[in-house]
């Protein structure tokens, strides 16, 4: 029944068309009506996307819900969609988070609400397009298209240094994507098609693979972001409005991680193997170096932005540590490699919820106090006890407490990386200390102690709308923490196939 519908096209185009409709409706009428319409569109999109989970066949690694139509036949560019275990959970994450973002901006955004909401809905559709594309050119179009609403969101509704942040964001990401485009065009000439799955099978020599891998690395490392190309993220976060930060942290960063499993590693497995040390090094630096940097932050958003970089380090570590795991004869290598990749994927989804929640919480405080300086707060627990309860919960999730989703991915990646090298696990494990230190130290300074000033004394606890957002996120974080199986099971077939594919060399045998 569901399978007969073009579910992927619906999840992509319904919010985009809805966003355009809201744009056309404009701000002349009642702002409440626009908001309700946007919320309805977001909820319906989420419900449609749930169909992907319900009808998902966990026994196969093949693409599902495939759609295919010729788009630009002259260049063999197709409108080709489909999902597997990697992309499907990320699409549902996107549709879920978008609902919360619409809710979060409810009566906070007073300036041009219709354009604000439209931007998010259009962005939602394009991001889903990125995850669902099986044609490289289609992917690239969505990849660039999703950035436009984001520039607008930061540039129009952003903070005082929004122009600097937007340009930095633009140049960084554009710098990366240009190299990716070159790589895609090369692959097209080489293989004669933009079909991503065909690119996976395309034989390439080591020289070609290396150049292609580096080109992709530039694009995806900026997106993740990996150290040392991460400095756009804290600036973008600080200047972005709450909703922008949430989308950025929860979903856009994941597109970088997704790129590695969809492009870099399957297309250039031998180069990935050859250069895995580089990515592992960058990941470990991200985890440790950025952990210390987060400790020094005075702005809450900057702190959480740095924390995001450190947590995303687990994604790239988990993905690239597999080559060394598989080459280690001791222990249960196959299991550990699976653990690493699935841990990386769970980490992405979990981080989507936790970072989203933390940015929303900072938004709640910012809406009331109009500052994100940690020093401006103190003793918030006395005026906002319910909010503090949630803050405590999400902070603990960010610190990787077992029982929350934050634990699952880190635990899996640390266990797995031990198989590759004790010191990888050691350095990654430091996050248990650093993550707790920077997160809980911030919590202590903001929420505990006596009330420090009259602004804090005048704070009102969260309202029903904010409570609803917090509860939804808390349920997600807790559910994954207590029972990750439902998501893990979606991944199994895809990960097994992925590991099989990348462990097969594309080079001619000597």
């Amino acid at each position: 029944m569901l399978a007969d519908l073009p579910l992927l096209s619906l999840t992509i185009w319904f919010p985009i068309l809805g966003g355009i409709a809201i744009l056309l409706a404009g701000d002349k009428g009642d702002a409440g009506g626009v908001r309700r319409l946007a919320l309805a569109i977001a909820v319906v999109t989420f419900v449609i996307s749930l169909g992907l989970y319900v009808d998902f066949d966990t026994s196969t690694s093949a693409m599902q819900f495939e759609e295919m139509a010729a788009w630009i036949p002259a260049f063999k560019i197709n409108y080709h969609l489909g999902v597997d275990g990697f992309s499907m959970p990320l699409i549902i994450l996107t549709t879920f988070i978008t609902i919360l973002v619409v809710l979060a901006g409810w009566d906070v955004i007073k300036k041009k609400p219709s354009q604000y909401l439209a931007a998010f809905l259009i962005m939602e559709g394009t991001m889903i397009g990125v995850f669902a594309s099986l044609d490289a050119m289609l992917f690239y179009v969505f990849w660039e298209a999703m950035l436009i609403p984001m520039y607008i969101i930061i540039g129009v509704w952003g903070g005082p240094r929004r122009v600097y942040a937007t340009i930095k964001f633009f140049i960084y990401t554009f710098f990366g994507s240009v190299f990716m485009l070159v790589a895609l065009i090369y692959l097209y000439y080489k293989g004669g098609s933009f079909d991503i799955l065909a690119m996976h099978q395309l034989p390439l020599n080591l020289h070609e693979q290396t150049l292609i891998f580096i080109a992709f690395l530039m694009a995806f490392a900026v997106k993740v972001p990996m150290w040392p190309v991460h400095t756009w993220l804290p600036d973008a976060h600080v200047e972005a409005p709450t909703g922008g930060s949430v989308i950025l942290a929860s979903i856009m960063l994941k597109i970088g991680g997704y790129g590695f499993v969809r492009f870099s590693m399957p297309i250039a497995p031998d180069a990935a193997h050859l250069l895995d040390w580089l990515v592992i090094l960058m990941s470990l630096v991200a985890i440790v170096y950025i952990g210390f940097v987060a400790l020094a932050q005075k702005d809450m958003k900057k702190l959480i932005a740095y924390s995001s970089i450190a947590h995303m380090g687990f994604v790239t570590l988990g993905l690239f540590v597999i080559f060394q795991i598989l080459s280690n004869p001791v222990g249960v290598a196959g299991s550990a490699a699976t653990l690493a990749v699935e841990g990386a994927m769970i980490q992405m989804i979990s981080h989507g919820f936790i970072a989203g929640a933390l940015f929303l919480m900072i938004g709640v405080l910012y809406d009331r106090m109009h500052t994100r300086e940690i020093a401006a707060y103190g003793g918030v627990v006395h005026t906002m006890p319910i909010f503090t309860g949630f803050a405590m919960f999400f902070a603990m999730a960010n610190a990787g407490l077992p029982g929350t989703s934050g634990f699952v991915g880190e635990f899996m990646v640390i266990l797995a990386s031990f198989h590759a090298n004790f010191w990888y696990a050691f350095l990654a494990g430091l996050t248990m200390i650093l993550g707790a230190a920077y997160t809980l130290w911030m919590v202590k300074r903001v929420f505990f102690g006596p009330v420090v000033n009259d602004d804090v004394r005048a704070l009102a606890d969260i309202n029903a709308r904010e409570l609803l957002i917090m509860i939804l996120l808390a349920i997600a974080v807790l559910a994954i923490g207590l029972w990750p199986s439902p998501i893990i099971d979606v991944l199994h077939a895809t990960v097994t196939n992925f590991l099989h594919h990348i462990s097969m060399t594309k080079l001619p045998l000597h």
């Binding site: 140049i171 940097v293 400790l295 627990v381 006395h382 407490l401 077992p402 006596p450 990750p484």
Partner: protein, 662 residues
């Protein structure tokens, strides 16, 4: 059957959820009723299970509850292992927790006074407190009932979370929210090692379940791993040391002991429950549970023994100079945990767990009695402002005396049986460092007796030193406070003598604890064991008894008979006194090195790495370079024809030049 086991941890969880989320609706009475009911259910059911295991010889149960996840054939599960070790822990935990719950009704009844008037967090603090301690009970039970490493880690971190929440319970106090952050982070250092230990277990055993791992223990002990090039370590030794780092954090062993004294910032009931009787003994329990691994690593056992011995001695010494009644008991707890750790190192796992049990009763008793004193003194904790309380608090006085006698190991009391065994076992042990450890634990006997009775005399005897107002209002607290004291005093006297025969020298633990044939110090002792009565009589002639008596006498002489001596000693040994008062400057060192150091490092990396280098030089620098280049090239476009002509001529000359010199 399994539903019965499941009900034991879930009952307090249900109570906790109700009291936590609906505290405002059900009120104070509702909150304490529902949580006490939950804990009472788990206590009664624990007794049922204990009965089944003791008298019906129920076999050990190893059952899986649900699959958390299965990845690559590795099963991550939640399940129970119910053997005699677990059953003992369950009974102790649920009993002490029940007593503490009842006590809390009295202790927290006027908690509103601890909060600022307009604080909304103070409104339902009473209900929240009950929710937390019930949640703690759930977590602790899950920890001890686990049959695998992952659930152990879950419980391990969950008790840490509740400890964090409760140390900082009075969130308005800067000292409390400093202490809980410190406690959590120091514990995380331990958990970091613990996590790596678990990772090593998964790698070499391919499973997280105790049974599978223990079955492979011998095989693993033949493998080596290399941490530094050229150095190979035995896999089991590495695992044991890493796991022990976790135990050092949770059970506050040197050098990760710094959080426990500060944890006294929390309300007294949790000092009794979490920071004396149960959570801090999780490390001891864990090592005992892992005996099949530790038995295969002499080096790990040595490390365990020496760490414990140092903690027992050095922390006891600090206890002598404390003036805060709770801090004296806290240092005493550290020292006693050291005793348990020494026993583990001597392969006397059952002696460690036995001391864990007796200690849980008498130390909870001492803390709750201290709490009773604190209530009577209107939240004054400085012993220098107490004195002569015997007259006003008779029940507290007598129960404290029982607890103190048990703590110093007076023959006949529970603590005597467990502690004397540990001292004897260390004496007979062959683990590396046993001579040093024996010296430490023996000297610690004197120290324990000294600080215990220093506290006892300062608080209950001598002239009252409090102000007139406090003195006029001194009276015994309500029954909810003194009843738990009496209930805990009973096992503090009797449990040791009653159970020593079975637990230590009988076959109580059965297969739950494995001891290698090379480590039979305890079995050696068993050959000379002729019942509790004879053991007690022998206790009167051992060196430990005389040391303890000398300690009590010294405390009496210095603090009762000739109080001026204390001042003289303090002056004569000012250096040592300062060293002890400053707790060997470890806190200062850590605050400077790790606290300050990591903040400085963070700031440095941020300023020089991110802001100056990456952003300043690379990002903005390349932007400036582009701008500069554009500026320069723009100047070239002057629009004057002769400029262009000149450039062309230069260019042509250069081309010719190249052609000529090739």
């Amino acid at each position: 059957m399994e539903n019965l086991y499941l009900a034991i941890p879930l009952a307090p969880l249900v109570g906790s959820v109700i009291a936590g989320f609906f505290g405002a609706q059900i009120g104070r009475r509702g909150a304490h009723t529902v949580t006490i009911l939950g804990v009472a259910v788990s206590f009664v059911l624990s007794l049922v299970v204990l009965y089944q295991h003791l008298y019906q010889h129920a076999p050990a149960v190893n059952a899986t509850l649900y699959n958390w996840m299965i990845v690559g054939g590795i099963q991550f599960q939640v399940g129970f292992l119910i053997d005699n070790l677990t059953v003992m822990m369950m009974t102790v935990v649920s009993f002490v927790s029940l007593m503490v719950h009842i006590y809390t009704i009295g202790y927290m009844s006027d908690d509103l006074e601890n909060w600022p008037k307009d604080s909304l967090a103070g409104v339902n603090s009473y209900q929240r407190f009950f929710s937390y301690i019930a949640l703690f009970t759930f977590s602790m039970l899950m920890l001890v009932m686990s049959n695998n490493f992952m659930q152990l880690f879950f419980g391990w971190e969950a008790v840490g979370l509740v400890s964090y929440l409760l140390i900082g319970f009075w969130a308005v106090r800067p000292s409390a929210v400093y202490a809980n952050l410190k406690a959590f982070i120091v514990n995380r250092v331990g958990d970091f090692g613990f996590m790596l230990g678990i990772a090593a277990v998964v790698m070499y055993a391919g499973s997280l379940n105790y049974a599978d791992v223990f079955a492979k223990a011998h095989l693993m002990s033949t493998e080596t791993m290399s941490l530094f090039p050229g150095h190979n370590w035995n896999v089991v030794s590495v695992i044991c040391v890493l796991l022990f780092v976790g135990a050092m954090g949770k059970s506050a062993q040197i050098p990760l002991h710094v959080w426990l004294p500060d944890s006294m910032e929390g309300p007294t009931p949790i000092s009794a429950l979490i920071h004396a009787a149960t959570m801090v003994t999780a490390g001891i329990f864990m090592v005992a549970r892992m005996s099949p691994l530790y038995e295969l690593s002499e080096s790990a056992l040595s490390l365990v023994m020496v760490t414990g011995a140092l903690t027992a001695l050095l922390m006891g010494l600090v206890g002598i100079v404390q003036n805060d009644i709770k801090r004296v008991i806290a240092y005493s707890t550290l020292s006693q945990l050291g005793y348990m750790t020494v026993a583990l190192g001597a392969s006397a796992y059952s002696a460690a767990v036995f001391h864990l049990m007796t200690h849980a009763f008498f130390k909870a008793l001492l803390f709750l009695a201290a709490g009773s004193v604190i209530i009577a003194m209107h939240h004054e904790q400085d012993m220098r402002k107490m004195g002569g309380l015997k007259k006003y608090l008779p029940i507290t006085y007598w129960t404290s005396l029982i607890g103190s006698l048990a703590l110093i190991g007076f023959p006949g009391f529970s603590g005597f049986f467990s502690k004397d065994t540990i001292i004897d076992v260390v004496h007979h042990s062959t683990t590396g460092g046993h001579g040093f450890a024996y010296l430490c634990v023996l000297s610690a006997v004197f120290i324990t007796a000294f600080y215990t009775f220093r506290l006892f005399f300062l608080v209950f005897h001598g002239e009252p030193r409090m102000d007139a107002h406090t003195k006029a209002h001194l009276h015994e607290p309500p029954w909810v406070v003194w009843l738990p004291l009496i209930m805990l005093a009973i096992p503090s006297v009797f449990i040791g003598g009653f159970t020593i025969g079975d637990v230590l020298f009988g076959n109580y633990f059965g297969s739950a604890i494995y001891i290698s044939p090379h480590h039979e110090a305890l079995a050696e002792l068993g050959k000379h064991f002729h019942g509790a009565w004879a053991f007690m009589q022998e206790g009167f002639v051992g060196p430990a008894f005389y040391l303890a008596m000398f300690g009590v006498f010294s405390a009496w002489f210095i603090y009762m008979k000739r109080p001026e001596i204390a001042g003289v000693i303090k002056q004569k040994f000012a250096l040592i006194d300062t060293l002890l008062v400053k707790k060997y400057y470890v806190d200062e060192l850590y605050a400077w090195l790790f606290g300050g150091g990591s903040r400085l490092l963070g700031k440095g990396l941020w300023t020089f790495g991110d802001v100056r280098f990456i952003d300043g030089l690379l990002v903005n620098g390349s932007a400036q370079l582009v701008a500069w280049f554009a500026l320069v090239t723009r100047r070239l476009q002057t629009g004057f024809l002769y400029h262009y002509a000149f450039a062309m001529i230069i260019g042509l000359l250069m081309l010719f030049g190249l052609g000529l010199f090739r």
